[in-house]
Amino acid sequence: MTDFLNDWGLILITFLPLAGALVMLAVPKESEETQKTIALVASGAAFALGVAFLVNFDYDSAGVLQYVVDREWIPIINSRFILGIDGISLPLLALTVLIVPLVLIYSWNNIPSPGNPKAFLSLILLLETGMIGTFVAQDLILFFVFFEIVLLPMFFMIGVWGGPDRKYASIKFFLYTLFGSALMIVSFLALFFMSAEQTFDMRILQDLGGLDIARTTQILIFGGMFMGFGIKVPIFPFHTWLPDAHTQAPTQGSVILAAVLLKLGTYGFVRIALPFLPEGAQWWAPIIAILAVIGIIYGALACLAQTDMKRLIAFSSVAHMGFVMLAIATLTDFGINAAVFGMVAHGLITGMLFFVAGSMKDRYHTLEISRLGGMLVSAPKLGWILGLCAMASLGLPGLAGFWGEFPAILSAYEPAPMLNEALFRTLMVIAALGTVLAAGYLLWMYQRTSMGTPPEEFADDPEITDVNTAEWISWTPMLLLIVVLGFFPSLIFNMTNPAATAIAAAATGG
C-alpha cells in the first residue's frame, strides 16, 4: 500500500478524474445514468486515494514533502514533472477530493439547464484534475499549467449553465484571472532567470529562499505574483469578478468556486510567494494586510447592501478571505496555520451556504431576499441548516469558522519581528470589528429569509419541500466536518503546523 502510494498515488489521484472525463466522452449522450456513474466512480476513486493519503501520511514530518514523484518533463526549459504533498497541501487536497464527489451527488438529479450532463460532468472532472494538480505540483511550470487548466471548465460552467447574465460574468471571470496569470508567469520566469540555479523546482527554490536575488528584484517579482494570486483570492480591490461569477454560476460551480478555487490563490501565497521571496514578502506584507482588512470591512458592508442572497454570500467570501490574507501577511507560524485552517473552514462553510442557496433557488426560483421569508416554516430542516452555516460563517466557536478567524486575529497582535507591530495591532482591532459586521449581515439575512412567516406568494407553494435525499447525502459530510473541526481543530493543525512553521521560518529569514 505504501509503496503503491509512493510510486503512483499522486499521479493517480491527479489524473483519475481526467481519465473519467475521457471515458465519459465515449459514452453516448443519451445514457445519463452511465455518465453520472462514471463521474462518481472517478471522483470517488480520487476520494478513496485521498483518504489513503490521510491515513498513511506521516504527520510527524508533515513539514517535508512526501510521496514525491519526480520525472523528466520538459528538459529544454529544465522543468520537471514533480508532485508531492506536505502539511499545507494535504488538507486542501482532502478538501478538493471531498467536495467534488459531493457536488456530483448533488448533481444526480439536479443538472442545471440547459442540461447535457455529459459535458457538465466532464467539465467538473477536468476541474478536479486541475485543482488537485495545483495543490500537488512542485514545479512552477507544472503548477502554472494546472492553475490555468482550472480556468477553462469554470468558464464554460458559468458561460453555459449560468444565470441570465452568464456571458458577461464568465468572460469577466476568465479575462480577469487570465490577466493575473499573465503577470504570474512573468514572475515565475523572472524567478527562473534571476536565481542562480535556473530551475523551476519548487523544492530547490524554497531551500534557496531568495538568497541570491536582490531585494528590489524580489519586491518586483512578488508584485507579479501578488497580482496573479491576489486576483484569484480575491483580495480587495481585485474582487469584482467574484460576485458576478458566483451570482451567475450554477450551484455546483458556485460551490466549487467558493470551496476550492479561491484557495488556489491563498495557497499560492503560502506555497510560492512567501518562502521563495522572503524580502519581497516582508515588503509587501503590510500592504497585503491593509488590503485584507479593507476587504474584511468592505466585504461586510457590501453584504449589508445586497438584495440577492447568492451575491451576499459571494461578498462574504471577500470578507472571509480577508481574514485568511491578514493571517498570511503576519508571516508567523500562527498566522499561516490560521490561514490554512481558514481556507478549509471557508471551503466547507461557504460551500455549504452556496449549496443551500442553490437549493433555495430550485424551490423558490428567486433569491431576492426581500421576497423570501419563513423558510423555517415551509422547509424547517433547510432553514436550520442555513442557520447552522450562517453561525459557522460568522465564526462561532465550536464550529469550524472560529479556528480560522480567531487565530488570524490573534496572529495580527504579534506579527513577524520585522513588521510594524502598531500597524498590525490596529488592523487586528479593525478586523475584530469585522466579526461584528459578519454577524450582522448573516443574521440579518437569516432573519429575513428564514424567520417570520412565509410570504403569500410562497405560502402554499408545493415546490417548497424540505431537504431531499441527494441533498442529505451530499451535505451531511460537510455539516459533520464543520462541527467536528470546530471541536477538534487539531485534525487540521496537526498537518499544517510543521509545514507552516517551516514556511514562516523561510518567509522571515533571508
Binding site: K172, L301, N337, P397, L410, A439, M451, S490, N494
Partner: protein, 787 residues
C-alpha cells in the same frame, strides 16, 4: 477527588442530552423533555457531589508547603508556570546536595538539576523572562523566581493561610507554532469558584427545566426548546469549567448562541427575531473586547491561554502593568455586553421576548453572570491592571456603579413586569461589577449566588402571573389583585422581593451588605480602597430597587384585577420550583455570615463558610483585603430599603404624596426626566437608528455603490476600453493597413490577370506561332550575343 478530576462529565452529559433530544426527542412520549430533565437532574447531583468533594479537598491537610505543594493537583502540561514551580521546587530540594555544581548558575535557579521534563518547562519560562524584561523593561529585571517568593510571603502574612489547591486537568486541543512552545489546551479547572457555578447553573437549570415542562407545554417547538435549553446548560458548564481562556471564549459564545435561539424561540413574530438579533449583535460587539483581551494576555503570558498561567503571572508582576490595564479594559468591554452593563445593556430588556423560563435561566441567573464570572476568574488581571487596591476610582467600579444606579431608575417607568425585572437584573449585575471593581471579590460572587436564587424566583413568578393573565406581561393594564388567586406565587414573590431589596435577614441583605462594606473605610476599617462615590451610587441604586419592586408588587398583586378572564393558580410543576427557589433565596445568606457583628462573634465553623469554599488563596490570586461587617452601613442601608418600601407603600396604597401624582405632566423638568427614562436614555435610538441604521443604510449602500460603480466601473471600463481600442485597431489598422496591403496585392494580381487573359485565345496554333517567334528571337539574340 474523582468528582474533581472528572468534572467534564457534567457538561458532556448536557451536550449528550442536547444531541439526544435533537435527534430522538420527537420520538419520545414526552417529546424529549424527559431526557432533558433526567440529564439535568443527574448533572445537579454530580455538581453537588463535586461540591462536597471540593469541600473535603479544600479542608484537607496538605503535605509540603508553598505554592508548589498547593499546585500539586495541576496536571503537568496544563500550565507552564505551575510546571515551572514544580521544577523549581524539585530544584531546591536537590540544590543543597549539589551545591558545588552551582557555579555560574542562571537566575532561573536550579534549572541545571531539573529532569528532562522539568528542563523543558524551565527553558520556556527562562526565555519568557528574558524577552519580557527586554521588551517591557520591567523593573524586576527578569528575576523569575520572584512570583513564588512573593506569593508565599503574602500567604504567610495571615496566620497559617490554607492555600487553595485547584484541580486542573487538561488535554491538548491544538498545537500551533514551534512544538512545545504554544500548546492550546482544553480541560477543567476546578476550584471553589467553578464548583459554585456548577451548583448554581445546574440547580437553576433543573428548576427551569421542570418549570418549563408545564409552562411551555403544547408549544409549537417544545422539543427544540428543551434541546437548546440543554445545549445552553452544556455551554455554560463548559464555560465555568474552562481551563484556558480560549475555552472560555468558546463557552462564552456558545451561550450567546443559545440565548439567540431561545430569545427568538417564537421567531414567527418580527419583534422576537429582532430582539434575538439585537442580543446577539450587541454581544458580538462586546466580544471584540474579549477576543482582543485574550489575544493580548496570550502573548503577554508568553504564549499561553492557561488561566492559571495568566493569573500567576498577573498576580506576581510577571506581566507589565500597562499591558494588564489595556487587557482589562478590553475585557470590561466584553463584560458590558454579556452582563448588561452600561453602555451595552440595551439588549437585555429586549431579550425578555423569549419564553419566561429562558429569561429566568439565561437572562437573569446564569448567562448574564458570565461576565462577572470571567472577571472573577481572571481577577489578578483586573486587580493589578486597574490598581484596585488603594485607589478610589477605576473603570470597572464606575461601569458597575453607573449601571446599578441608572438601571434601577429605568425600572420605574416600565409597564411590562419582565422588563422591570430585566432592569433590576442589569442593576444588580452592576452591584456585582462594582463589587469586583472595588476589590470585594467574595462579595461579588456571593451576591451572584444569592441573586441567582431570588431573581430566578421573581422571573418564574412573573411567568406564573402571565400564565394567569392570558400570557400578558403588562402589569399595569392586565394584572392586579393577583394575591388572592395566586397565593403561592404571591408569597414566593414577596420573599424574593424582600431578598432583592436587602431586607434583614434574607440572603440579599447579607450579600448586598458585603458589597457595600467592601467599598472601603467610610464607617470602619477594611476593604481595598476608598470608593466613596461608588458607595453613594450603590446606595441610591439600593433605594430604587426596594422602591420599584414595591411598585411592581402593587401593580401585580394589589388593587383590582384589570385583565380579562378568570386568573388561576399555576400547576405544581410551576409552583414547586418557585417554592424551592424562594426558600433558598431566603436562607442562603447564612452561608457567609460574618465572623463578628459588633460584639457578637459567630463560631468559626459557621461563619464565612462561603468565603472559605470559594475564594482562592495562593499564587494565582491577588492578596485582597476583606472588609469587616459594617454595622452603621448595614443599618443605614436597611433603613434606606425600608424607607423606600414605606414611601412607595404610602404612595400607591394610601395615595400619599399627592403632589407627585401627575408631576411629570405638570413640571417641565420632571417631564423631561420621565421622557428620558421612557426612552431608555436614548441608547436604543443611538444604536438602532443612528449606528446600525448608518451601517446598514448609507454605509452599506455607499460601499455597494463604490463597488458597482468605481471598482467594477474600472474593470468594466477597462474591458470596454479594450473593446473600443480593439475596434479602432481592427477597423483602422488591421482592416485598412495590414489587411489592406494583403488585399491590394490580391487586387493587383487579379487585375494583371484580367489584362493578360486576352492573350490566351485557346488556339494552339497561335501559341505555337508565338512559341516559335520567341524561339527565333532568342536564337537571334543568342547568335548576336555569341557573335
Amino acid at each position: 477527588m474523582w468528582f474533581l478530576t472528572h468534572a467534564w462529565i457534567i457538561p458532556a452529559l448536557m451536550a449528550l442530552s442536547f444531541l439526544l433530544i435533537l435527534f430522538f426527542g420527537k420520538l419520545m412520549p414526552k417529546k424529549g423533555s424527559e431526557i432533558g430533565i433526567a440529564a439535568i437532574g443527574i448533572a445537579f447531583i454530580l455538581a453537588l457531589l463535586t461540591a462536597g468533594s471540593w469541600y473535603t479537598h479544600n479542608n484537607e491537610e496538605v503535605e509540603g508547603h508553598g505554592d508548589a505543594a498547593a499546585m500539586a493537583d495541576v496536571q503537568e502540561g496544563c500550565s507552564n508556570e505551575v510546571d515551572h514551580l514544580a521544577a523549581e521546587d524539585h530544584g531546591e530540594e536537590t540544590e543543597d546536595v549539589g551545591d558545588h555544581e552551582g557555579e555560574g548558575r542562571s537566575d532561573d535557579g536550579g534549572s541545571d538539576e531539573g529532569t528532562d521534563d522539568h528542563a523543558l518547562g524551565q527553558s520556556d519560562s527562562g526565555e519568557y523572562a528574558q524577552s519580557d524584561s527586554g521588551e517591557y523593561a520591567q523593573s524586576d529585571s527578569g528575576e523569575y523566581a520572584a512570583p513564588a517568593a512573593t506569593s508565599t510571603a503574602v500567604a504567610s502574612e495571615g496566620e497559617e493561610e490554607h492555600l487553595t489547591r485547584p484541580v486542573v486537568r487538561c488535554a491538548a486541543w491544538a498545537e500551533i507554532g514551534t512544538p512545545g512552545s504554544s500548546l492550546i489546551t482544553w480541560g477543567t479547572m476546578v476550584d471553589g469558584q467553578s464548583v459554585l457555578m456548577l451548583v448554581v447553573v445546574t440547580l437553576i437549570s433543573l428548576m427551569v427545566f421542570i418549570y418549563s415542562s408545564e409552562y411551555v407545554s403544547g408549544d409549537r417547538r417544545y422539543t427544540h426548546y428543551f434541546a437548546f435549553l440543554s445545549l445552553f446548560s452544556a455551554s455554560m458548564l463548559f464555560f465555568v469549567l474552562a481551563q484556558s481562556t480560549i475555552q472560555m471564549i468558546v463557552g462564552w459564545e456558545l451561550v450567546g448562541v443559545c440565548s439567540f435561539v431561545l430569545i427568538g424561540h417564537w421567531w414567527e413574530e418580527k419583534p422576537n427575531s429582532n430582539a434575538a438579533l439585537k442580543a446577539f449583535l450587541t454581544n458580538r460587539v462586546g466580544d471584540i473586547g474579549l477576543l482582543i483581551g485574550v489575544a493580548i494576555l496570550y502573548f503577554a503570558a508568553g504564549r499561553s491561554f492557561s488561566i492559571l498561567d495568566l493569573n500567576i503571572l498577573a498576580a506576581n508582576g510577571g506581566i507589565s502593568h500597562g499591558i494588564l490595564l489595556v487587557a482589562s479594559v478590553c475585557l470590561i468591554f466584553a463584560v458590558m455586553s454579556k452582563s448588561g452593563q452600561f453602555i451595552l445593556h440595551t439588549w437585555l430588556p429586549d431579550a425578555m421576548a423569549g419564553p419566561t423560563p429562558v429569561s429566568a435561566l439565561i437572562h437573569a441567573a446564569t448567562m448574564v453572570v458570565a461576565g462577572i464570572y470571567m472577571v472573577a476568574r481572571l481577577y489578578p488581571v483586573f486587580f493589578e491592571g486597574l490598581s484596585i487596591a488603594g485607589s478610589s476610582v477605576n473603570f470597572l467600579a464606575i461601569v458597575g456603579a453607573v449601571t446599578a444606579m441608572f438601571g434601577a431608575l429605568l425600572a420605574f417607568v416600565q409597564k411590562d413586569i419582565k422588563k422591570v425585572l430585566a432592569y433590576s437584573t442589569i442593576s444588580q449585575l452592576g452591584f456585582m461589577v462594582t463589587a469586583l471593581g472595588v476589590g470585594a471579590w467574595t462579595a461579588a460572587l456571593f451576591h451572584l449566588f444569592t441573586h441567582a436564587m431570588f431573581k430566578a424566583t421573581l422571573f418564574l413568578g412573573a411567568g406564573s402571573l402571565s400564565n394567569a393573565a392570558h400570557h400578558s406581561f403588562d402589569m399595569v393594564n392586565d394584572m392586579g389583585g393577583m394575591r388572592k388567586v395566586l397565593p403561592r406565587t404571591f408569597w414566593t414573590f414577596i420573599v424574593a422581593t424582600a431578598a432583592l431589596a436587602g431586607i434583614f435577614p434574607l440572603s440579599g441583605f447579607w450579600s448586598k451588605d458585603e458589597i457595600l462594606a467592601g467599598h472601603g473605610s467610610l464607617f470602619s476599617a477594611g476593604g481595598n480602597g476608598t470608593y466613596h462615590v461608588m458607595l453613594v451610587m450603590l446606595l441610591i441604586g439600593a433605594f430604587c430597587t426596594a422602591a420599584y419592586m414595591t411598585r411592581t408588587i402593587w401593580y401585580a398583586f394589589y388593587g383590582e384585577f384589570r385583565g380579562h378572564g378568570t386568573p388561576h393558580e399555576s400547576g405544581s410543576r410551576i409552583t414547586v420550583p418557585l417554592i424551592i427557589l424562594a426558600t433558598l433565596g431566603a436562607v442562603v445568606g447564612v452561608l457567609n455570615l460574618p465572623e463578628k457583628i459588633g460584639p457578637f462573634t459567630f463560631p468559626e465553623s459557621i461563619s464565612l463558610q462561603f468565603e472559605h469554599f470559594v475564594e482562592p488563596v495562593g499564587a494565582y490570586f491577588p492578596a485582597i483585603s476583606h472588609a469587616e461587617f459594617n454595622i452603621p452601613l448595614a443599618i443605614f442601608s436597611l433603613a434606606l430599603a425600608l424607607s423606600a418600601v414605606l414611601v412607595t407603600y404610602l404612595y400607591y396604597w394610601k395615595g400619599a404624596f399627592k403632589f407627585l401624582h401627575g408631576l411629570s405632566e405638570r413640571n417641565r423638568v420632571a417631564g423631561l426626566g420621565k421622557t428620558i427614562l421612557v426612552n431608555k436614555y436614548y441608547f436604543d435610538w443611538l444604536y438602532t437608528d443612528v449606528i446600525t441604521g448608518f451601517v446598514k443604510g448609507p454605509a452599506a449602500r455607499a460601499t455597494n455603490w463604490f463597488n458597482q460603480h468605481v471598482l467594477d466601473g474600472i474593470v468594466d471600463g477597462t474591458g470596454k476600453g479594450a473593446v473600443v481600442a480593439g475596434q479602432f485597431v481592427y477597423e483602422n489598422i488591421d482592416q485598412k493597413v495590414v489587411d489592406g496591403a494583403v488585399k491590394d496585392t490580391a487586387i493587383a494580381t487579379s487585375e494583371a490577370g484580367g489584362v493578360l487573359r486576352h492573350m490566351q485565345t485557346g488556339r494552339i496554333q497561335q501559341y505555337a506561332a508565338l512559341f516559335f517567334a520567341a524561339a527565333a528571337l532568342l536564337a537571334g539574340v543568342f547568335v548576336v550575343a555569341i557573335g
